[in-house]
Symmetry: C2
Subunit: 327 residues, 2 copies
Amino acid sequence: MHSFQELSKIFEDKFNIQHFPAQPDTLYNAAQYILGIGGKRIRPVMCLMGNELVNDINPDTYHVATAIELFHNFTLIHDDIMDKAPLRRGMETVHAKFGEATALLAGDVMLVYAYENINKIKVDHLQKVLKLFNKTATQVCEGQQLDMDFAQRSFGDKEGSVSFDAYLNMIVLKTSVALAASLQVGAMLGGSGEGNQHHLYEFGKNLGIAFQVQDDYLDAFGDPDKFGKQTGGDIISNKKTFLLIHTLEVASVAQRTSLTKLFENDNPDKVEKVLQIYKDCHVDQWANKLKEKYLQNALFHLEEIAVLSARKKPMEELSEYLINREK
Amino acid sequence: MHSFQELSKIFEDKFNIQHFPAQPDTLYNAAQYILGIGGKRIRPVMCLMGNELVNDINPDTYHVATAIELFHNFTLIHDDIMDKAPLRRGMETVHAKFGEATALLAGDVMLVYAYENINKIKVDHLQKVLKLFNKTATQVCEGQQLDMDFAQRSFGDKEGSVSFDAYLNMIVLKTSVALAASLQVGAMLGGSGEGNQHHLYEFGKNLGIAFQVQDDYLDAFGDPDKFGKQTGGDIISNKKTFLLIHTLEVASVAQRTSLTKLFENDNPDKVEKVLQIYKDCHVDQWANKLKEKYLQNALFHLEEIAVLSARKKPMEELSEYLINREK
């Protein structure tokens, strides 16, 4: 058994190869480029952890972990096109560097390569792995569409605003299910029964929600010295977050009017004033409680998994790392 | 056994359903839209024909034929974004109607649904079907990239121009392999041996080349009354075709200079003058010979397939239809 850090190292060594043919280089250089700009490889490592929760690592799990990371990078390339983002991890996005048409195609071919990596596994698990992978890929696309739909809605009036439940559903689809499925497919390949797979999936899904709440919290209330970048980025870019969605649900008419005005104009004191409304609505305390709720949900499902508790230690460390991080 | 027309009807009846969930409708309406604007369904019908060449139709073949048509529509949505095309079959393209971001995502989710349809087949054929599907999908992406690369090259000087061999390779990747693989996968599911599969693939590949030559020929030299639209569209849009590539290879320096000027400006007599150079270079006769060569290659491989010749009749009819059509 290995820690998250050890598995990261093992995966990175295997993943750090040329994944594509040499030609046409106009296509494959663009695809390989994004794989080279780093990333925490959280999803493939969770896949390996899911396997190790129940058994020694099945060599097939590396193929599926690779597919998961390729799929993730496919979504990054296409999301960046849709969001017209110029930078990712401080580097030019694929479409900024290679043009939109090539970026689109590089994403497409990366998705096909994800499936080809899945197709390397032994046939006994193939159908189940594909079923979970397809379900999850579909949900991630749906989540991205809902995110774009929500971004277009104004929140001036209560009717037009996005409810907490709708927002949560979007986050689950866009973010959490990929973490959940990465864990589950690893356990599947490790030979886990369906009951354990179910609890592991729910652990990952709830952990994913708590992770996203912490992400939103840090962006607003993080310690700039520890956070590594200026806080308030989500407010500046008018991004809908757990904090904003909740504030709009509990705010007074006056506060809602102020928020609407603040988000419609780019005043120099926008961040400061929005944060003040967040604080007046106690959204910082609410966010911590929300995070704690989903963390407890996650740990409940981890508890239910019928393996020796020593095997669960890396999962507990992962939860700790993802949820209590300050950056 | 059925004719191409009968199989078209059978497939259309099966395919004419709602392929996606109801929500989020902002995503799935865009995906379903393109499936409703028609199309000849050539690839899935070729898949069914490949099966019937060797055996009664395996129910799994319908799933794979559906996957093939979904894959084809995925490429149409994304190609139209890359080409910034406003219309397809006289209707608004998906991105023109629903926006680029949604169109991109509708293409993505359609590709995932293609794989999910493949995943409905019995497991014995799954790995081989996926392998062929992935290889072909990759080649289609490569062909599209090469097509875009070629479109950016000037042809003023011999060095910058695209050679016939490079152009042919692009056409094979972008167009022919999908036809070839559709036939092969049908035969595979019908239980054909590898030798027959190989010849059927080569039949489809060569037929695809001949088909493309005829396409280019008709656009330049077709009878406008029969062609159904004005000829010269490829010339107006500066599209590289078999005719243009060959002309540039055989033209005199003076003819090459004229062509370069004609393609750099949009004179009202551009089509007429380009066609005159084509005729001076005897490119019409050359194109007919080229088409005949690939048709003969195709028929040679059809001949080599070890099944009763009566079974090959629909394939012969298909060749006739695709190659001697006047529109």
